[in-house]
């Protein structure tokens, strides 16, 4: 059979396809304006009132233009329910922020400002009283009253651990509706985190929730926020419409559609074709191509520090010695890892488990500088001149190049003499081992989320002696003293100092190998502006303007 003509035709068709794929795009590309980040119009910053002076916010000032246009956002995943107390991490956190309000809200510096409450006072160390903003309406027209606030807290506090939100408001012992617009909270002891807890707790309408039931409410949630959910199709799309009656004033866009696009390459392509306006989690290797296509790229530091956690509690383990743990920190060149494998879009951790945006971050601490010789010497001085062998486990696929990154860490450690037996495990295995220390290898990759608005407490708690035995990898008297004191200190400045001191002790004690703080990369069409880069699981779509 003569195959020559067929080969020629085949080759020609493939060439044509590839040529079209590689040719420059037909549409002209314009250099985009730098992403503009609007600061919100929030109330003046008021210190948590240790005194009884009430703080009052001026009424929210908003642009008077009507909402315009629709915004399409491509996300790797969307919430399965609109119940704000059930899921508290993104993408649910993004939805909760747009649909609901708390009594207080966090501004762009993660400080608490009045929201549904227009003022509050600290009646006694354990009693707080909040005055609600009058005239606030839910999206179904119901007026907000103190009964809704009490209901929203009681529902979570009595859930017996069923609702994850409970962990954030655990210290609240009692909530009372004093009158229609006054709510009184009693904590079990003086709680310096109280206002931060209040700002993390969304208020739902009691009457509507009771009528709909839990599942019904999850499908058609109603809040007081700038957007109303009009469609929530699990694993497909969420449609939000501007709520004109919001006490915030109307948002800038009339409609927002969140679409599930799991594949990063598809999100990138849809952004290029203009089918979507905003895309989540852009792979670093796509950034150059997007920029040349006129797409804005916005890196946002993630409130999470990646570490290799050490189990320091086993007496005969080398990791029981502080010098060994420090040596391992000196052995790894974090900057090189960030530059090569994370393409520069992340920062090495400054010897601590929180980032600069967290209350309690210690600006004086420096990363352990890379010094392989020193690491070897320290290991020898600690009694390990020939090093040792140790297991390390991690889950991969959480961000680009993570597997290569952990392998590089292992190879740095082996240069210092520590042979690492590195194993990739599945998330379910990771979680199982995480909560039962005996099953866990001595070195275990852990990303610590610190939620900037909840301050360093959340992350530091993992290193407290009060951790349940099944998750306690570290216990140190000096650290414990500072940490315990911080939990009782109501003066913000003194508390800040205590947290910073606790962070300094952790750097010295090195209960983990401090790696880096990751960044998430968002892609925005050139028509879109106003998205604020925030690391606290908030997506400020209410500020976004679409041309």
């Amino acid at each position: 059979m003569n195959v020559k003509p067929i080969r020629q035709i085949l080759a020609a068709s493939i060439l044509i396809l590839v040529a079209v794929a590689c040719a420059p795009a037909a549409t002209p590309t314009a250099v985009p304006p730098a992403p503009t980040v609007a600061r919100p119009t929030t109330a003046p910053n008021t210190a948590p009132a240790a005194t009884a002076a009430p703080t009052t916010a001026p009424a929210a000032t908003q642009a008077s233009t009507a909402p315009q246009g629709s915004l399409i956002v491509g996300l790797g995943n969307i919430p399965g329910t609109g119940d704000p107390h059930k899921f508290v991490a993104p993408p649910s956190a993004w939805l909760n922020y747009l649909v609901f309000d708390a009594l207080l809200e966090n501004d762009d510096k993660y400080e608490q400002q009045p929201a549904l409450a227009e003022s509050y006072k600290n009646v006694s160390p354990t009693v707080w009283e909040f005055k609600l903003r009058p005239g606030v309406k839910f999206q179904n027209g119901d007026a907000l009253t103190s009964a809704d606030v009490k209901f929203s807290f009681d529902r979570v506090l009595s859930s017996g651990g069923k609702l994850p939100q409970q962990a954030r408001v655990l210290t609240i012992a009692k909530v009372e509706a004093v009158d229609d617009l006054t709510v009184r909270f009693t904590t079990d002891k003086p709680d310096p985190l109280f206002l931060k807890r209040i700002a993390s707790h969304y208020i739902i309408p009691q009457k509507y929730f009771t009528a709909q039931g839990e599942d019904g409410f999850g499908k058609a949630p109603i809040g007081t926020g700038p957007f109303k959910v009009t469609e929530l199709t699990p694993d497909n799309q969420v449609v939000l419409e501007a709520f004109a009656g919001s006490w915030h004033g109307a948002p800038k866009v009339a409609k927002v559609v969140w679409k599930v696009i799991r594949e990063p390459a598809t999100r990138v392509n849809a952004l290029k074709t203009g089918e979507i306006d905003i895309a989540q989690a852009i792979p670093p290797d796509q950034i150059a191509g997007l920029k040349s296509a006129g797409i804005q790229v916005l890196p946002v530091a993630r409130a999470q520090v990646q570490t290799v956690a050490f189990n320091t509690t086993l007496k005969d383990s080398p990791l029981a010695k502080k010098e060994v743990r420090q040596a391992l920190n000196y052995a790894v060149d974090k900057q090189a890892l960030v530059d090569s494998l994370l393409t520069g879009f992340s920062n090495p951790a400054n010897g601590q488990i929180v980032g600069p945006d967290s209350f309690g971050y210690n600006p004086d601490l420096k990363p352990y500088a890379y010094d392989a010789k020193k690491a070897k010497q320290m290991l020898a001085d600690a009694g390990y001149p020939n090093g040792f062998t140790m297991k390390m486990e991690a889950t991969v696929g959480n961000f680009p190049n993570d597997k290569q990154l952990y392998e590089a860490v292992a190879s740095y450690l082996s240069e210092a003499g520590v042979k690492v037996d590195f194993k990739v495990i599945e998330l379910s295995v990771w979680l199982k081992e995480f909560y039962s220390l005996p099953d866990q290898p001595p070195m275990f990759v852990q990303g610590l989320q610190y939620l900037p608005f909840m301050d360093s407490d959340l992350s530091l708690a993992w290193y407290s002696c009060t951790q349940a035995e099944a998750t306690r990898r570290f216990c140190n008297d000096a650290f414990e003293a500072k940490f315990t004191a911080s939990r009782a200190e109501m003066d913000p400045q003194k508390r800040l100092k205590l947290l910073q001191e606790a962070n300094a002790i952790l750097r010295e004690e090195a209960p983990a190998l401090f790696l880096y703080q990751l960044s998430d990369i968002w892609g925005l069409s050139s028509k879109v502006s106003g998205l604020a880069p925030r690391s606290d699981a908030v997506l400020t779509l209410e500020r976004v303007v679409k041309k």
Binding site: M1, N2, V3, P5, I6, I9, L10, L17, V20, A21, A23, A25, A26, T27, G80, T81, D83, K86, A89, G160, G161, K162, P164, Q166, A167, E214, D215, G218, K219, T233, P234, D235, N236, K259, V260, I261, R262, E263, A265, T266, N269, A270, K272, T273, E275, E426, L427, S428, V429, L431, K432, F434, Y435, Q446, G447, Q449, L458, A468, A470, T471
Partner: protein, 306 residues
């Protein structure tokens, strides 16, 4: 006769669906803790313990299994923890998209594969036949995800003719179909080609020709009808396979079908979703197999009587 057949089908259905569900039940429970997955890495051990209690995961495995069986008989696969809603309706809501894509792919494949297969068998030396062979082998060698990305770059990003993802307009059906169809077209073409060529040499074909029947009648009534049986089997298997969801294609085009839903359910340890997906897919596969078996009877009267 018909009753016996019906009983056989029902028994088969129960065995397959029951067996698959049981295997799945055990595998899922051996492979990780859904409570820990649901609570996430920031949760305290107390919260996870409370979740385990609430989800009934602290009961002995056999109690969990009987509870599962009892509920499954009532078509209740439990609530998906991610969507806080019953699993079966969620899965059924994804089925139309999957069936639409499967039907589209199979229809396009038949429309192109049948003429191509028959033509290349009847005129094996023609240029067209050689081209058909070449393209068929090439189509079988192209990886689906590569083709999908290439099609998106060409038709969505460069030419802007077609949407790159989604499932709301008919145009959005085109690229996923073009991604999945080439392989099936190639397989139908090659199998039909082989099958027709085999039948061409049969005695009854020669007899039909000798009787003086028109060539197209011989082709339609004697050749194609007999050559179709293995091809129908192939189409049935492929249709069943596609009805279980074309995972990679669904993910790349954000096609809201049952395949990507199942994979997400597995990754998230969402037992209810996984079990409901497998139940629905097993059912659809059984129904398609039944359809294929019945069609044999239409094509070949001898099968009807046995």
């Amino acid at each position: 006769m018909l009753t016996r057949y019906a009983v056989k089908v029902v028994v088969q259905l129960v065995l397959v669906v029951g067996g698959v569900s049981t295997a799945l039940f055990l595998l899922l429970r051996l492979s990780g803790d859904p409570a820990a997955t649901m609570a996430g890495p920031a949760a305290s051990p107390q919260i996870i313990a409370a979740l385990r209690q609430q989800m009934g995961l602290n009961d002995p495995l056999w109690i969990q299994y009987f509870r599962f069986l009892e509920n499954a008989l009532r078509l209740d696969f439990g609530n998906s923890y991610r969507f806080t809603a019953p699993a079966l309706p969620l899965v059924l809501a994804r089925m139309p998209a999957t069936l639409l894509l499967a039907t589209s792919v199979v229809s396009v494949s038949i429309l192109i594969g049948f003429p191509a297969g028959i033509w290349s068998a009847v005129r094996p030396e023609s240029i067209a036949a050689r081209l058909i062979y070449g393209l068929s082998y090439a189509a079988q060698a192209i990886p689906g995800f590569w083709l999908a990305l290439l099609l998106i770059i060409v038709f969505a990003v460069r030419l802007r003719w077609l949407p790159s993802f989604g499932a709301e307009t008919p145009a959005q059906l085109l690229l996923p179909t073009l991604t999945l169809a080439p392989l099936l077209i190639a397989r139908i073409t090659l199998m039909l080609n082989d099958s027709v060529r085999r039948v061409l040499n049969e005695d009854y074909v020669r007899t039909a020709r000798a009787k003086g029947l028109l060539p197209r009648h011989v082709l339609a009534r004697h050749i194609i009808r007999n050559a179709l049986i293995p091809v129908v089997t192939l189409i049935g298997i492929e249709f069943a396979h596609l009805s279980g969801g074309a995972v990679i294609t669904e993910v790349i085009y954000s096609w809201p079908g049952v395949g990507s839903f199942l994979v997400e359910g597995v990754l998230a340890r969402d037992y209810a979703i996984v079990q409901a997906c497998v139940f629905v897919i097993a059912l659809v596969v059984m129904v398609i197999n039944l359809g294929v078996e019945l069609s044999y009877g239409l094509l070949d009267p001898r099968i009807r009587t046995t």
